[in-house]
Amino acid sequence: MNNTDESNNKPDMVVLADDAPVNLEAEFEASNVKEVLDKLDRELIGLKPVKTRIREIAALLLVDRLRKQFALTSETPTLHMNFTGNPGTGKTTVAMRMAEILHRLGYVREGHLVSVTRDDLVGQYIGHTAPKTKEVIKKAMGGVLFIDEAYYLYKPENERDYGAESIEILLQVMENNRDDLVVILAGYKDRMDKFFHSNPGMRSRIAHHIDFPDYSANELLAIANLMLADQNYHFSPDAEKAFLEYITLRMKMEHFANARSVRNALDRARLRQANRLFASASKLLNKVDLMTIEAEDILASRVFQEGKLDSEPAGVKRP
């Protein structure tokens, strides 16, 4: 009835002779991983430790694949991950890429990413949590389950909180269905540490703890250039200088959120650019005018003038 015989499950594998040569290079080419890794290098600025770890994982999975040709079985490596880092350091972006990379390497079957937060996992009344969590897990199977702000799952101050139940189910699935899904947790470093401290089982089931470093000013400028290029804008040379200055000032202020702050600053620069073009309505515009962000669009920011955040209302004195 319930046939558990696995042999007709897999295609016939030809086991190579002990001295047969295999080509790691060819395997690397065939997997298209190079393309993904190059894309990662190109589109993600900085993040050295992250890229190194992704390379290591890719290498391990490739070597595993070669070993399989000699019927050298080893346990499937655990690939559950934990991303920690300050706001705007690219945790979510990397998680998205991770799903694609793991799919190319044949570690996950479908390669989709299911991104959830506490709301999607934890129910509102007794008996609501388990089905909710299980439904999310079933959706993520064959791909990557990304839990953003994972520390919210556990609320020690409320002992009747249902988060613990959700964690329990997650732990079970992370252990038993390792072939079916990869769980990635993400959150700010200090809070994640506290979370793991109260859930030691979670910590030990996650093999890869990756810390996302903050960006330097030059890296942020490179990111800004990439973001603008994506939206068919570019800096004039003066504007680039001004923006670097802006970043340096902004980094010292509070609520700095790395790439996210850069994106917001660019959005505001676009507003000012549009306004400037509008003010010079008499002039005929060409394509370059519409694409270029000038220094004055950046310098108009209040960060320069009053040393204040743009998002704060004007004239309000900060303590």
Partner: protein
């Protein structure tokens, strides 16, 4: 039933074939998912070929990408009801279809006692015939 070997109930797809293996069930689920159908797991211990209303084992599963999640539910159901009939259904929400498009049995009781012929005398010397499952003489939950 009469055309079927032994006492095996036949309902839905593949029921005249030997039992599907897990690999075959997975392949069928994969096909249903590729069509965008929502899968569900149902069970019953009332084995009439015309009994189409089975109990749901959990909610139907929408938006899944991989058969592993459904197989997990199938195995959960097998664990809970090892001696019941269990089937997998696939629901198509395409306008104009909006009904179950696939349905096949994935678990059977170890012993299927089969069906007896029931004769009913009516007006004149007319005979009416129907079938009756020996298993359903016992109350629900104790049949297998």
């Amino acid at each position: 039933m009469m055309t079927n070997q032994g006492n095996r109930i036949s309902q839905g797809q593949f029921s005249f074939l030997p039992d599907l293996t897990d690999a075959q069930i997975t392949a069928q689920i994969k096909y249903a998912l590729s069509k965008g159908w929502a899968l569900s797991v149902e069970y019953t211990d009332d084995p009439h070929p015309r009994n189409t209303y089975w109990e749901m084992f959990g909610n139907p599963m929408f938006d899944l990408k991989d058969p592993a999640g459904i197989m997990m539910e199938v195995n959960n159901c097998r664990k809970t009801f090892p001696n019941h009939y269990i089937r997998v259904g696939a629901f198509s929400s395409v306008q104009g279809v909006e009904s179950v498009t696939m349905s096949y049995i994935v678990n059977r009781p170890k012993q299927e006692p089969g069906f007896g012929l029931v004769r009913q005398e009516t007006e004149g010397r007319t005979m009416r015939y129907t079938i009756h499952s020996y298993a359903s003489d016992k109350p629900e939950g104790e049949r297998y």
